[in-house]
């Protein structure tokens, strides 16, 4: 469904992505984890062609999105729903209008149908009764969920999430996890999830990729991921109190 082939990206002298290759199958939930500044968001932006690789190729289906332009690009992008790291809500529209925006701009649905669809998506992300609030009046977590509702509202076949659960309380986080999982099961949606949250990565991911300093260190199934022998992956896991046996343990240094 999505295929990156040796994607390399420089920001000036700084090599942000170094020959990143992976393929995401249809119906998969592909999770990308990594330290802050490792290049996760940059990878996601390459998939949707907000960035163009300096070297390498990005395919969506059979189409080479890294070279698409104009109407072709628009058609490819229509297959995606994207949740940005900062939610990227339009500040002058209220919650309802933000979520309704793609419907209003790109479909000919009636107002009643739009209202129904928006209400459905907002309730899926546990947001009801804040239709009239402006983005500036929302908490970071609420904003994120509005962004999520907007990403889902067109019922896309591929959804890219940039940290869907960061800034959310654990209960809402798990609800979002379930939402992602449900869409995979019920609608066969393909997802690419960037997250720091290893719990959700392990819970929803069909495969987990670890990016470190612009390189893919490891791609494996969740069960294999926690048993990885890679030092950096181990360090990453231990930092979140996850050991190789998958047991929740307090790391020794944390109690000191």
């Amino acid at each position: 469904m999505i295929r990156l082939e040796r994607v390399t990206k420089y920001f000036g002298e700084h090599k942000v992505l170094d020959a990143v290759s992976f393929a995401v199958e249809r119906g998969e939930t592909f999770v990308i984890v990594g330290f802050s500044g490792a290049g996760k968001s940059v990878t996601l932006k390459h998939i949707i062609r907000l960035l163009t690789p300096d070297l390498g190729k990005v395919y969506v289906g059979d189409a080479l999105i890294s070279a698409a332009r104009g109407a072709d690009l628009a058609r490819l992008r229509d297959r995606f729903g994207v949740l940005f790291q900062g939610a990227a809500l339009l500040q002058w529209l209220n919650v309802f209008d933000n979520v309704a925006l793609p419907l209003r701009e790109k479909t000919t649905l009636s107002d009643a149908e739009i209202e129904k669809r928006v209400a459905e998506k907002l309730s899926q992300v546990n947001l009801e009764g804040v239709y009239d609030a402006m983005p500036a009046e929302l908490s970071g977590g609420m904003r994120k969920r509005v962004g999520l509702a907007r990403a889902l509202v067109m019922n896309p076949e591929i959804i890219l999430y940039d940290e869907p659960t960061s800034g959310l309380d654990p209960v809402t986080s798990r609800a979002i996890d379930q939402l992602i999982d449900r869409m995979k099961v019920e609608l066969n949606v393909t997802s690419v999830v960037v997250t720091h949250d290893l719990f959700s990565a392990l819970a929803i991911g069909t495969r987990i990729a670890m990016i470190y300093d612009g390189r893919i260190l490891e791609i494996s199934r969740p069960g294999d991921f926690i048993r990885s022998q890679n030092e950096i992956v181990k360090q990453f896991l231990e930092a979140q109190y996850i050991t190789q046996r998958g047991v929740w343990e307090r790391a020794n240094h944390a109690t000191q």
Partner: protein, 261 residues
């Protein structure tokens, strides 16, 4: 949602009203600026000039001091400029009609003056081409006289000229004195441009005569005061001309920055 719709409606009304009022006043203003009375019947009037000395579309047409219409268009022709004006009432020209472009202000205002002619005179036959008076350019007049006077006083100073012939003509001497007086008054009151114009015309005549060798040059020479006055006069006329020249930079400046005349 409903709340939004209401707000949008009041927006629509505000913006719509504003634009409607603005466009309406724009239309009204356009009509005002074109200085045309759209609702009244206009009588066309054509006259041909050799030179219209800066007459413009929209300038007034005046009969005996009363504005009766506007200049509508001017067309360049082989034999001059055809000025078409629209009048509010018809004019009946006599044989001795006189039509001229009059300068109404130093800053360049002009109007078209029509004198129909004496009441008793014969009517102008229909279809006859109406011709306007050739212009008399005040600036040219002023500088012309100044040059002439300079010339004469120069000659006087040098003691040249047909003195003997001139000594006798008392009348011309008096004439010159009167003109100088008149001219001085005219220059003092700068508004009285028309006065100045006639004075200058008179003076021109005199200096011409003097140049041609007629007149009381002898008297001119013996009368120290008149001589001095004549000298003074040249200075005054120069000052007037300079003043007028000084006006032009203001006008130019205005036209560049403030827009102008």
């Amino acid at each position: 949602m409903r709340r939004n719709r209401l707000r949008e409606l009041s927006l629509e009304v505000t913006v719509g009203t504003f634009m409607f009022v603005a466009l309406l006043s724009l239309c009204v203003f356009t009509i005002i600026l074109s200085r045309e009375n759209v609702f009244r019947k206009a009588y066309p009037f054509e006259v041909i000039f050799d030179d219209v000395i800066g007459l413009r579309d929209g300038d007034n047409v005046v009969i005996r001091g009363m504005t009766i219409g506007k200049v509508k268009a001017m067309v360049l022709q082989d034999d001059g400029v055809r000025v078409v004006s629209a009048l509010r009432r018809p004019v009946r020209l006599k044989k001795d009609y006189k039509i001229e472009v009059v300068i109404s202000s130093v800053l360049g205002g002009r109007y078209l003056q029509i004198s129909e002619g004496a009441a008793g005179a014969e009517d102008l036959p229909a279809g006859e081409i109406v011709r306007g008076q050739p212009p008399n350019d005040i600036m040219a007049l002023v500088s012309g006289v100044a040059a002439d006077l300079k010339d004469i006083t120069g000659k006087i100073n040098a003691g040249q000229g047909t003195l003997g012939k001139l000594v006798n003509d008392e009348a011309l001497y008096n004439d010159a004195r009167a003109v100088v007086g008149e001219l001085k008054m005219a220059i003092k009151d700068r508004g009285l441009i028309n006065n100045l114009e006639t004075s200058l015309a008179n003076l021109n005549e005199i200096t011409d005569k003097i140049n041609r060798g007629e007149g009381t040059l002898g008297l001119l020479i013996s009368d120290e005061s008149l001589y001095l006055e004549a000298k003074q006069l040249i200075g005054d006329i120069r000052a007037t001309v300079d003043d007028m020249r000084e006006t032009s930079p203001i006008v130019t400046f205005s036209s560049i920055f403030f827009g102008a005349f």
